[in-house]
Subunit: 486 residues, 2 copies
Amino acid sequence: MATRDGFYFDNGTAALQHGLKCAGAISPPNNITGKETQPYDVIIVGAGYAGLTACRDLCIAGYNVLLLEARDRIGGRTYTAEVDGHLYEMGGTWVHWNQPHVYREMSRYDLTALLPSHVESSSPNYCATSFEGKHQNVDQMKLHAMTEKAFKMLCDVDGKSGREVLPYPHNPHHNPKAKHWEQMSVAQRLDQIKAALTGDELAALQAHLSSICGIDMDKAGLFDVLRWWALGGYTMDGLYETGDQFKIPTGQSNFARCFFEESLQSHHLKYSFNTVVTSIQDQGNRVIVNRTWSAKRVICAVPLNVLRKVAFEPALSPSKMAATRPGNINHGAKVHLEASSSALRSWSCASWPPTRVCHGSGDGLTPDGNTHIVCFGSNKDFLRPEQDAQDFAADCQKLQDMDIRKTVWHNWSKDPFSEGSWCMFQPNFSFQHLKALQQRAGNILFANSDWALGWRGFIDGAIERGGRAAKDVSSELDTFRKPAKI
Amino acid sequence: MATRDGFYFDNGTAALQHGLKCAGAISPPNNITGKETQPYDVIIVGAGYAGLTACRDLCIAGYNVLLLEARDRIGGRTYTAEVDGHLYEMGGTWVHWNQPHVYREMSRYDLTALLPSHVESSSPNYCATSFEGKHQNVDQMKLHAMTEKAFKMLCDVDGKSGREVLPYPHNPHHNPKAKHWEQMSVAQRLDQIKAALTGDELAALQAHLSSICGIDMDKAGLFDVLRWWALGGYTMDGLYETGDQFKIPTGQSNFARCFFEESLQSHHLKYSFNTVVTSIQDQGNRVIVNRTWSAKRVICAVPLNVLRKVAFEPALSPSKMAATRPGNINHGAKVHLEASSSALRSWSCASWPPTRVCHGSGDGLTPDGNTHIVCFGSNKDFLRPEQDAQDFAADCQKLQDMDIRKTVWHNWSKDPFSEGSWCMFQPNFSFQHLKALQQRAGNILFANSDWALGWRGFIDGAIERGGRAAKDVSSELDTFRKPAKI
């Protein structure tokens, strides 16, 4: 099976392929016969992890569910492409046993064997840096110490490594004092600490922050960086181990299929892919989607930046609408390279100011014995699929002489069904909008990682929100059920 | 509602009360009419968190479930007693967002607000120590540094803080090299490192280890200590923050009720408390429990040390039977004290060799403004309820002059339905027995925290096992279901 999504550029043949082999592509693309009894119990809009989790929970609870998805595949901003026998995670990738919602699912589906991304080896394990235009290969341990010092200084907003300001990372607004920091941009915080850092330390930190935030430092909210820091146990090592190290060996799309297939096995799932939802009308006693399907409840699981493309009746509350602009500000790019030989297995790179690439590192070997390198970069010049890959690869080659065989990527920023990468907020956004984003509107509930409490922007956050929405819906609909005969 | 479980000794009146107010006590104690259609889909034996999770998952999936429990309450080795308006966690207590299975449930039930147990205050925050007979009040920061140094040395079995031996704490047997350490007792490992420690450092470490293991150091397996260490992120602070700090403010019994009540609301739950299961016969096409009830599947959720009290037909496999002796070796005691005034709010104590108490610390204030102190101790002399509390309190008073108003406790070791505290294994046990304990026997599945993969012995581990068993059962029974009419 293949999805229309994703690009693959072969440097040998200079051929560009749009659409990749993917276990998340669903065939047949719908199982609707037209004879279904309506209203459905629940219509779910969006088959990312939030929608899939809600779908699975409601299907196994015996509710009749219709799942609608604009793409030809499940997974939303997470899917696995297979190119020449190698798996590339095109979006959300890394998971960890300290991410509670996703790990509970991995545990339940017996998918807890993990594959580390970044390993030490006897290969060159320096970091190719470009800091303020100066190229240098830096020992990774040395760069790690520099970055860690700077990162810790950034996040030590309270003399307690951020623990006082964010004591509960899954309850980000617990301490009202956090609001002070929540109004600050990353750039403003950098101004406060930069006198205590060397130029290289500051550049190393900004290269990392740039790959985390996917936007300029003056637009990125400090609070989201603090949140990641807190989720990682208030250390940089904890953050990268929890959020950037362990993959599911068989791929995210394989994991996502577990949710979809369990839903199907319940015999309660009807679905339709390639189906863009443009209207959701709550008529009080039922909700009508695209003037075609009706349900008692709708769970809208589309990303924040896509919400405004759906015509809601009644209109979304002003507080929710206000949150859709600017919404998720992360327009960072993720690009996979295959470089000849295994030599770069433990290599990494960091660049500040970023050209197109701001951070990259070896992520295993392909079946051909070449190195798989995963890179994150600025997306501002990422406009034309044909040109993107070559420009991006060229910027990587400025950092490290390498023979690039393949480039594999998805342009999340220009994707009409995501319009951005993992969710990051601008300053002064979370306290103002997070609650509004989580709120339901009558019979319409909203479930997406973009407004999760804990691992917002991660797969974990999607499952958190999907599970909560399903629980709320089933608690309500349950009251109409009849006792079973026992 | 009150449970028969638990003891409360009032020092003012010298009155001993057996049985305490508890939100986990279920009334009426059964809802069986005798007219139920048999076989049930599933009979679940044991209403601790493993049994409750399996019960909840299967009930909401529409299976007809019969839940049988020997006690008059839910929760197993976890329940909350209320005495004079204050909540005492009699068994399993602390939870954390890095415990994935339990946190997913807290998130789903919207119970993520947490209450810290041990806080710094302006009150005396020394640790009253008795190390090798020498009494001393030691500054807690100083003691912390001593204990941390020793603990780190204990667990640094690979020069990588245990990360090489136990890279995946939820997959404890991943590295075969772990087997070497798995065969070692804590005492043997202490012999390897003690030359590098002062007497006080060694004593401080052993006081902590004693409260973790609940048994003599020569009988406790090192591997379980390494496992806790790894689960806590390979640091002592991580371990205590994850496993010993955050409580559910409304109590564990309130949390456990969420599972029970959601099961009830499904209309698929029949239950009977005060019902000791003595026989489980798998007849191939169905399973008969206590020669009375029949089901397609049974999930046996009783603790490891109670397994041998159930007559299984066919008999349990030799590998599983072998694991029941010595089984869970943890016979540690947990005792709550109420001490006059708030002065001991930040106090702690540590004792090695332990008298009855080996470790204790302030755990908040009671409504009367007195200090709630939670203590862990050796259970070897913990034989007579009437005497226990006074002996234990007397040992605490040797460490710190305090006016004890109340003592509240449960004797888990002598409890016929637990025969031990949270599960710890002896040396050479995990590699040999863990897999056998997890294995099903025909139509009988086994779910208990005592053989969890990750947080074994914790609430998290119980939910892990209960969820997996329910998943396995529903995958099997699902194939007989008819398609819904949609």
